[in-house]
Amino acid sequence: MTTFTTTTTTTRPRLGAVTAESTFVSRSFIHSVRDVEALLMAVVLPTMLMLMFTWIFGNAIDPSGGYVDYVVPGIILLCAGFGASSTAVSVSRDMTTGIIDRFRTMPIRSGAVLTGHVVASLVRNLVATAVVIAVALLVGFRPVATPLEWVAVLGVVALYILAITYLFAAIGLAASSPEAANGYGFILLFLPYVSSAFVPVETMPDWLRPIAEHQPITPVIETIRALLMDAPLGDSAWWAVGWCVAIIAISVGWGAWLFRRKAGRR
């Protein structure tokens, strides 16, 4: 029989500033790496979409062949959406298996579990975005951005991923099951189509145009496009950042509220 050393009982210490968060981040990284299919899908689906838009629809939409330059920013955002929607599923899975009760009976900041999922998703999506941009360059994407503009693009893309990931994390909390979470994610993935991602807003029917112009994705896309293709930026950068920050604020608040409310629901 093995020896079993329990001395006297101990009280769990209050954890340092980042111990809980970093523990949950590494947990979520392990989850990401082990879910090879999801990882692959997050890269393959946007890539296939891009190839479809540039090779199949591209000539019909823009016979001059420059459509790839137009569509890449939209694909980048679509890619971020695919990646983020898997966050909703992971969060929902945590909520519906007993593991969340174990964390809730420990002295851990309630947001730490979500932070783990969000950070892992952010990194996952940035990698996927890099792959998508590399493929885009292979099929004829010719951005004219300066290094500084590239940094700005990275910043906007990261902020957008953060916003949509937090939103999906909250959706994961609200959903009754991982399957439902997946469904909600799917609905949100249609948003880029009703924006300037694939066709200019001017070509849309009158009733749709105001929606497409004023939804959050359009200024983000316009900002990335302006930075990459050296087009006039206008005020879209402000709108993009404003939207993303607002979405993060609302999602974090909503998420914290949901997390508390669902405590011990099972």
Binding site: F4, T8, T9, T11, L15, R34, D35, I99, T105, P107
Partner: protein
């Protein structure tokens, strides 16, 4: 005597049913306490309240000296829970699960690994330590779930039906773990459907029925409450025909035997009478007896619940 758990008048209502209707508990520090009760009695609900997962609708509860509603963080620093359903990360390996919990409990990376290896050995999971928990059998998962709660020796340990689904060896192993934890000063609060387990393991036992503690005491005290020995009438094949509790007096025993004598089954070929000490099962059945089906026939027509209460 310091109390590790103290609950006064706990109430919890789900929809229209009062699951807990004024529950009182007092668990001495360093003891093993078993909460018994039929399915749906509110055992898990009680544990959920005591472990800060659920807020009570009324009453107060203190665990390790802190109020579960007012100071949940302080309570959480001093407890661990293995719930009724598995609370393990299926994507991670057993080692990764344990190290994660160790880190979250304030252990350094090295200490967490050392402790994880120790627990994996103790719970017979060393060979499967590097496998994803998703591939585990139900009993292996359960053992990991229990090991996770022992990653640091907390003052108060809650185990909701810990041995359900465990094989005999694992069950006995867990019993010895629980005993040694209590010897080292931890308080263990457990629920179980196995009365033998409560009998052997628990210092004190409480029976939860209709939202209240219907009986509480040591195993011997509870058995004493049912009165004296139980008289059984068995048929030729040894099958139980009827059993009657007695109040321990000569008169009571005679009355019980007389009553058996009046039953036609007593005159059947090969029928025989036995006298035995009451078991915890008798206590449990008598206390939780429902009007529709009284499993233990009363002496002289009295309600077994009255028998217990008037004692």
């Amino acid at each position: 005597m310091t109390l590790a758990i103290q609950a006064v008048g706990l109430r919890k209502r789900f929809g229209r049913t009062d699951v807990l209707a004024g529950l009182d508990l007092a668990v001495p520090a360093g003891s093993v306490f078993a909460l018994l009760g039929p399915n749906g009695a509110g055992k898990t609900t009680t544990i959920n309240i005591l472990t800060t997962l659920v807020r009570p609708d009324g009453g107060t509860a203190h665990v390790a000296g802190h109020d579960v509603v007012a100071q949940p963080g302080e309570v959480q620093r001093r407890i661990a829970l293995t719930g009724q359903s598995a609370a393990v990360d299926e994507v991670l390996t057993a080692t990764e699960n344990l190290v994660m919990l160790g880190r979250l409990s304030g252990l350094g990376r090295r200490d967490a690994h050392v402790r994880a290896a120790e627990l994996l050995g103790r719970f017979g999971l060393a060979d499967a330590a590097g496998r994803r928990v998703g591939t585990y059998s139900g009993g292996m998962r359960r053992r990991l779930d229990l090991a996770l709660s022992l990653i640091v020796p907390v003052p108060v340990l809650f185990l909701d039906e810990p041995t359900t689904g465990l094989d005999t060896r694992s069950r006995q192993e867990l019993w010895s773990v629980i005993r040694s934890l209590a010897d080292d000063g931890s308080t263990v609060f457990l629920t179980t459907q196995y009365l033998e387990e409560a009998d052997r393991l628990a210092d004190r036992i409480a029976v939860l029925d209709r939202g209240r503690i219907a009986a509480e005491g040591t195993s011997e005290e509870l058995k004493a409450r049912i009165g004296g020995d139980v008289v059984e009438l068995r048929d030729a094949d040894g099958g139980l025909v009827v059993e009657l509790p007695t109040d321990g007096t000569v008169h009571g025993l005679r009355a019980a035997v007389d009553e058996l004598d009046r039953s036609p089954a007593a005159s059947a070929d090969g029928a025989s009478v036995f006298i035995r000490r009451p078991s915890l099962d008798d206590v449990f059945l008598a206390i939780t007896a429902r009007d529709a089906a009284v499993p233990l026939s009363p002496v002289e027509g009295s309600d077994p619940r009255e028998l217990l209460e008037t004692k």
